[in-house]
Amino acid sequence: MKSGDRAVILLIIVAASMAFYLARLAGTSEEVYAEIRVGNVVREVIDLSAVSEPYTKTFRTGNGGYNVVEVRRGMIRVVEANCPEQIDVRQGWISRPYQSIVCLPHRFVITLYSQRHDGLDVDGVSY
């Protein structure tokens, strides 16, 4: 083991620790969270990257309306709802930041956000 070798090993150790530090600072790259709101009220915020077991949850939206949400790691969808057009159910799974599912009759909205604001994603989508 020569001295240069030791220098190289030292460099690797330093780099590895820096990598850990940076990773903690920036959050994991796939961190997406879902914000579920009815009207102006945020009912729930779910960190999709931290979901281990898939589950479903029902949200009552007033006037007898309801939407059933299914959550899996990294994705979410409305699996059942009693709104007339069923547009939200038909959308299926969403998993990327800025995607959203809207049920207008129930004023029920699921929006996905990402922790990263590195200027590489959009400031808005015109639809």
């Binding site: 220098a7 460099l11 330093v14 820096m18 530090y21 940076l22 600072l25 920036a26 914000e35 709101r37 009207g39 102006n40 007339p84 057009e85 959308q91 299926g92 969403i94 990327r96 930041p97 800025y98 995607q99 959203s100 599912i101 809207v102 207008l104 009759p105 004023r107 909205v109 929006t111 996905l112 604001h117 590195d118 200027g119 994603d121 959009v122 400031d123 808005g124 989508v125 015109s126 639809y127």
Partner: protein
């Protein structure tokens, strides 16, 4: 066992290494946390999902709250369903009788008539009866009969709406209903930006049901990047992005409000000359213009006009650009956007006009 010189060399190298790492760590930390975190607030207003993002300071929340309040104010004036609104009162008043309206309403109506004139009636604020007849967006949409459509069509025409901006009065000259839905949201965007600016917010994005208005300079100095919705994918997925420094983007598409009957899709953007949903092979038109009101009105007008005519207009009007997504999976981008536009989806072919 090392000579003195080698020892000094090694010490120097070690020191340099430590300094390098420290500097790198400092810059890394700065790069990640310096970016001013934007303040975002979302809610429901004007019957749609609204999201306001501002880069400001402590007063951000108060300013954004005022922004929402302004949207509600405008809705209270132009809604066709709220009983006390100016539009409701005008639609319920007898024909030929003037009705007092607020300044906002008068301004909106005057602008609407002007847009109708500019687009030869493709945009028309007098299509209210159509909207009611078809019932799109309500629980009971239906396909009206030809006679019903002809009857409702009779009163349609922007010349039949008279507005007096000085006396703040408006009057119907024929049997039609006023509907400002295709221009109100864009106007509201502009108004919100005014409110935010007045309260000291220097930069931000207003997203009112897909009508987007940006203002100011982003903290990192770059342009605002706006995605254009993919008509065939879930909301938030886009076919491409444009980088703009300021202005507004509005999109009219057949995928927002629609219903199916006997296998045919009926959407909510009517051709004011036929009374039926416009069918010119266009799935969506996005307009980029200096103000939200322009973008909103023109996106509707262009959707009705179809590809050829709308690009005629775009070429005539310098400050207006457009992106069209057609039914045969093409994306046509006006030449003024060639540098700012970036394609993102592999399912479409892209062209510039």
């Amino acid at each position: 066992m090392m000579s003195g010189r080698a020892r000094v060399l090694r010490l120097a190298a070690l020191t340099a290494l430590v300094i390098l790492i420290a500097t790198a760590a400092y810059f890394a930390r700065r790069a990640l946390t310096e970016k001013q975190q934007p303040y975002t607030q979302a809610g429901f207003a004007m019957g749609t999902f609204v999201r306001i993002t501002v880069y400001g300071n402590e007063s951000a929340k108060a300013a954004v709250d005022d922004g929402f309040r302004r949207i509600n104010e405008i809705e209270a004036l132009v809604s066709t369903t709220i009983q006390g609104s100016d539009v409701f009162k005008l639609n319920s008043a007898p024909i030929g009788v003037p009705v007092k309206v607020h300044q906002d309403t008068a301004y909106l109506m005057t602008s609407a008539v002007e847009f109708a004139r500019l687009t030869d009636g493709s945009f028309d604020p007098t299509v209210g009866r159509m909207v009611d007849l078809w019932g799109i967006g309500t629980e009971n949409p239906r396909v009206p009969s030809e006679e019903e459509i002809m009857q409702a069509l009779a009163g349609v025409g922007y010349q039949n709406l008279a507005v007096d901006s000085e006396r703040l009065e408006a009057m119907r000259l024929a049997d039609f209903f006023v509907d400002l839905g295709a221009i109100a949201k864009g106007y509201a965007c502009d108004q919100v930006v005014n409110v935010l600016r007045e309260e000291g917010i220097e930069a931000g994005v207003v997203d009112l049901g897909g009508n987007i208005r940006v203002f100011g300079v982003k903290p990192n100095g770059r342009d605002w990047r706006i995605g254009i919705q993919d008509p065939s994918a879930s909301r938030g997925s886009y076919i491409g992005t444009i980088d703009i420094a300021s202005g507004a983007v509005a999109t009219s598409g057949d995928y927002e409000r629609y219903f199916f009957r006997d296998g045919i899709l009926y959407h909510h953007i009517f051709d004011p000359s036929t009374g039926y949903p416009a069918r010119r092979g266009v799935r969506s038109v996005s307009v980029i213009a200096p103000t939200g009101m322009q973008a909103d009105a023109l996106s509707t007008a262009f959707f009705v006009m179809g590809v050829e005519d709308l690009f005629d207009c775009v070429n005539r009007w310098q400050e207006v650009e457009a992106i069209v997504v057609t039914s045969d999976r093409r994306v046509i981008v006006s030449s003024g956007l060639a540098d700012a536009f970036e394609a993102v989806s592999e399912d479409y072919t892209y062209e510039i006009r």
